[in-house]
């Protein structure tokens, strides 16, 4: 009983915001808290003239983006497998994954708007435009720019998850067998490999779908505003006590919507696999199509270059003094923005870093504790639980968690913000560490124990140093996740914690493009620095160890 207590406590700490948060959303929606949120929430939100439009827009952008992400991932996998381009991409994608959504969104606007960098580059020489064209708008009315932003940001996530699974699937052997039987490579993939791969990436796909359907910051920056997506619409209601019930009811409906979409995916899976099984027996070999591979490579290149170009445009704007349409590049530069000790950059950077470090550290300690408990049989193996925060819409969880914080007066406190960030860093940290923890050869610990070392000594001298690589990776990813968080800080921070994410989204409406760019660059650089450090630190550790060993062996020889 007692040996299970730490695990129970840890689970309670993690589950508390989820359960209380969902309750805090559900109760006001049902009219059970007339003090905080008077009125019949469901009636109010359903009667609002914007509700239907906002819901349809969310469905269109969320499902459209998810479908494209899945499609592009498959196309990229098939066409890039065993190619030289993949070697380059697999090194480029992880850092891109670490760049926050909001920064990419802002960069994309600066890139593809009618007066954006692309048109400036081509005008007036090629296009003949001396003024920005009025043929399109960013953000556009149909949600296309939002879909584009989601696709270029989420495809690398799914692609990397899928690629990490390939080594366990014997892809090359399968391809060889298929080829000897006369099947085209595309058929080999669709008949042999994808059916094995899909179950392994399904959770990631669902996480991406939940995100696409409910994201707030990216939809604010890239989505239509009138009406906006459902979650953005609900955000505009939640701060007014008169419509808090409506916002809560809308958040409940959004959670239901996401659940229904999950169910639809499961049904579709069944349908597709039945059809695929029938077709697999048909024996049709298909024709080889090198065109398909070229198309896939182009698509992957285009998507990655869009992200990189967006970041590059941000970098340019952050050192610009004057850059008018249709000049191809700035006419006056201002590098001093980065070096003048500008408090509008430094303060939010510090605020972001302290929250991120604390949330990452908390996640590391919690994850290591849990995995050690699990290893010693004091905690069950329940990986699914940790992913709940990623599958529940942020607004559905955080509206209620914010209401709870109001009640006990905990909103605005730094610890409340860190606690809420921890909820979102924990899944990634445990995902990375769990694999490494379970794979680590227990012989190391056994040997150390046999030599008389106690539990803590073995943990700190043997196990943690052996796992330094995944530990540093997990820490870097936790930093990246926290740096990108917008809603938790906004809703729980009470305005007291102005992180880069908050500053970036708030200032997008008005502040100078040059400052917005600087904020976005800074928000992208922080996680990148964490990634570089995570790469270098294990090497530095092993180099130090090697030096020490060399020294020790020399001394041993001398003596």
């Amino acid at each position: 009983m007692w040996r299970r207590l730490p695990a129970v406590l840890l689970l309670a700490l993690f589950g508390c915001p989820i359960v209380l948060g969902l309750l805090g959303t559900l109760l006001p929606a049902l009219g059970a808290t007339p003090n905080l949120a008077p009125g019949n929430g469901f009636a109010m939100v359903l009667q609002d003239s914007r509700f239907v439009g906002a819901t349809l827009l969310s469905l269109k952008t969320g499902l459209g983006a998810t479908l494209l992400v899945l499609l592009f991932t498959i196309i990229a996998l098939v066409s890039l497998h065993n190619s030289r381009l993949w070697v380059w991409l697999s090194a480029t994608l992880p850092p891109l994954l670490a760049v926050p959504h909001a920064a990419i969104a802002v960069g994309l606007v600066f890139l593809i708007a009618p007066s954006g960098a692309l048109v400036r580059l081509l005008s007036p020489a090629i296009t003949g435009w001396t003024r920005p064209p009025d043929m399109w708008l960013i953000p556009d009315v149909y949600g296309l720019s939002l879909i584009l932003g989601l696709v270029i940001k989420e495809t690398p996530f799914l692609l990397l998850t899928a690629a990490a699974q390939l080594p366990q699937l014997n892809v090359d052997a399968s391809l060889k067998i298929g080829r000897t039987l006369g099947y085209s490579p595309a058929r080999c993939w669709s008949r042999l490999i994808l059916p094995q791969l899909y179950p392994r990436i399904r959770l990631t796909l669902l996480i991406i779908m939940a995100f696409n359907l409910t994201v707030v910051d990216m939809a604010l920056l890239l989505g239509p505003s009138n009406p906006p997506t459902l979650s953005v619409f609900l955000m505009s209601l939640v701060n007014d006590p008169g419509s808090r019930a409506a916002a809560s009811a809308g958040a409940v409906l959004l959670a239901v919507l996401v659940a229904v979409c999950f169910a639809v995916v499961v049904i579709l899976e069944r349908l597709v696999s039945t059809v695929a099984r029938v077709r697999a027996r048909s024996g049709a070999r298909g024709r080889g199509s090198s065109l398909f591979r070229v198309f896939g490579k182009l698509l992957a290149l285009l998507s990655v270059s869009l992200s990189i170009a967006a970041l590059f445009v941000l970098l340019i704007w952050s050192v610009t003094q004057r850059w008018r349409f249709p000049d191809a590049y700035p006419s006056a530069w201002a590098f001093d923005r980065w070096f003048s000790g500008n408090s509008s950059l430094i303060d939010p950077a510090i605020s972001t870093l302290t929250i991120a470090s604390a949330a990452a550290l908390l996640a590391m300690v919690a994850a290591v504790t849990w995995l050690e408990l699990e290893r010693r049989g004091c905690a069950p193996k329940i990986d699914g639980i940790w992913f709940i925060p990623l599958l529940v819409p942020q607004v559905s969880l955080l509206f209620g968690w914010q209401a709870m914080a109001y009640w006990v007066g905990a909103d605005g406190h730094w610890l409340t913000v860190v606690y809420t960030h921890w909820l979102y860093t924990m899944p990634y940290v445990i995902l990375i560490l769990a694999v490494a923890w379970r794979e680590l050869d227990p012989a190391w610990s056994h040997a150390a124990h046999a030599l008389g070392a106690g539990y803590w000594r073995v943990l700190f001298i043997i196990r943690l140093p052996l796992l330094i690589k995944p530990l540093s990776q997990a820490f870097a990813i936790a930093i990246a996740v926290s740096v990108a968080q917008y809603l938790p800080t906004l809703l729980l921070g009470g305005g007291r914690h102005q992180t880069l994410a908050i500053e970036l989204v708030t200032s997008f409406g008005g502040v100078d493009r040059r400052t917005i760019a600087a904020l976005a660059v800074l928000q992208s650089v922080l996680p990148l620095i964490a990634f570089v450090l995570a790469l270098l630190y294990p090497r530095w550790c092993s180099a130090r160890l090697a030096r020490k060993n060399a020294l020790a062996s020399r001394q041993w020889i001398r003596s």
């Binding site: 239509p224 505003s225 102005q498």
Partner: protein
């Protein structure tokens, strides 16, 4: 209702209050009418969380300068909490009041006017008549918009900070003759001119819609009189019908065809610089000067108002009932009214917003601060600045926004 709330809050706050009293008996609670020396003494070491719209770089920098001054002169730490829409903060205060948090609130000072002030005043969420107790109050001009905020009496509950008037910034390189009425603006967009305004409830969008309402009602005295009274007393549908007729014609011709809207007036200024629109909106007659000097607009821009004038108002700062650092907030409000702070604010090099002080009542040194300010050719010419129309009653804003969203928000 009020007494229930008071009872509940007494029970909640009694124990912490006793504890607090036991531990820091030296701290003096200030009242809105405390002696000023007591206020400055109590303010020392306090941190004031000033919730103010954070969408303008120059305003943010001006507040950063104010923070430095306040720290060194009064040992008051000013934290600018950058807000997207102050109505959100009004909502948070209402929520705090509903859960009985009558002390230790997150907001010490906030930047408000119009319907947000009216909402706070109506729900009794303001601290008191602190503004009449500020030493610099004596320098403030006497004007209708300072006595009543969108027709709602101020009564010392908020302290004036700056004057504003709806103005249009035009790029004369693209537009030789500016459209100076709602009718002319419609002609202008029909002939291919590029214009867009932020969708209500964005503040500037709502103001422009009110401006259009005044223009289309011009000559209808009964309707114009109804605008000065609460909207509940008016025949809203009848009065606003010409407005919707006008907007129905205007919207298809706008950039974005009435389906996509700029987020804010600042964004229209950015679009003007990019050439995506020909005319931008601002609530600051000197905005263009500041922007040109800051490399954000071309030299060819000029500022103007409609021939029959445009809506003007005053904006204020106020202290919520549950503020933590009330003394500090008063010191900040008083500093913001000082001739030095107001003169710097009036200078387009820093912010460039009209002062609320009465320059003629100042001594020579103080006046010199204002006379040194160069507004530049890009700002609204002084003589046009007198052409100010009053705001409709505060209740019209919400009604117009709701009706606008009902019609065009889907």
């Amino acid at each position: 209702m009020i007494s229930l709330k008071a009872l509940a809050s007494q029970r909640r706050t009694l124990v912490p209050a006793l504890l607090l009293a036991a531990f820091c008996s030296s701290a003096v609670a200030v009242e809105p009418d405390s002696l000023w020396s007591e206020v400055t003494e109590a303010a020392k070491g306090q941190t004031v969380y000033f919730n103010a719209w954070g969408g303008s770089e120059r305003i943010n920098e001006y507040l950063a300068w104010s923070a430095e001054q306040l720290e060194s002169r009064y040992q008051v730490k000013l934290e600018h909490v950058k807000v997207g829409d102050i109505a959100d903060i009004v909502g948070q205060l209402e929520a705090a009041s509903l859960v009985g948090r009558d002390e230790g609130g997150n907001v010490d000072l906030m930047w408000v006017n119009g319907e947000n002030f009216a909402a706070l005043k109506n729900t009794d969420l303001l601290w008191g008549a602190f503004a009449d107790n500020l030493p610099n109050r004596n320098l403030v001009q006497d004007s209708p918009s300072i006595r009543a905020d969108f027709s709602v009496p101020v009564e010392g509950l908020e302290s004036p900070w700056g004057g504003a008037q709806l103005v249009f910034i035009v790029d004369t390189a693209a537009v030789p003759s500016s459209p100076k009425s709602a009718e002319a603006l419609l002609e202008f967009v029909k002939e291919g001119g590029r214009f867009a305004y932020p969708a209500p409830p964005a503040f500037h969008g709502t103001t422009l819609v009110k401006q259009f309402l005044l223009e289309v009602l011009d000559g209808d005295e009964a309707a114009s009189a109804a605008l000065a009274l609460p909207v509940e007393q008016a025949d809203f549908d009848n009065i606003t019908k010409p407005l919707w007729d006008y907007l129905d014609q205007l919207h298809p011709e706008l950039r974005g065809a009435g389906k996509s809207w700029p987020i804010s007036a600042e964004m229209t200024r950015q679009l003007l610089d990019d050439g995506e629109v020909d005319i931008a909106l601002s609530f600051n007659p000197n905005e263009a000067s500041a922007a040109v000097q800051n490399d954000q607009l071309p030299d060819s821009v000029r500022t103007y108002v409609f021939d029959k004038g445009t809506i003007g108002n005053t904006h204020f700062v106020t202290i919520p009932w549950n503020a933590t650092a009330k003394a500090g907030a008063m010191v900040v409000a008083n500093f913001l009214l000082s001739p030095e702070a107001q003169a710097r604010k009036a200078d387009p090099a820093f912010w460039g917003e009209p002062t609320v002080l009465d320059i003629t009542a100042m001594d020579a040194d103080q006046r010199a601060l204002f006379e040194a300010v160069d507004l530049g050719v890009w700002a609204l010419p002084i003589e046009e600045g007198n052409n100010v129309l009053p705001e409709p009653h505060a209740s019209w804003a919400a009604a117009l926004e709701a009706a606008w969203l009902e019609r065009y928000g889907q």
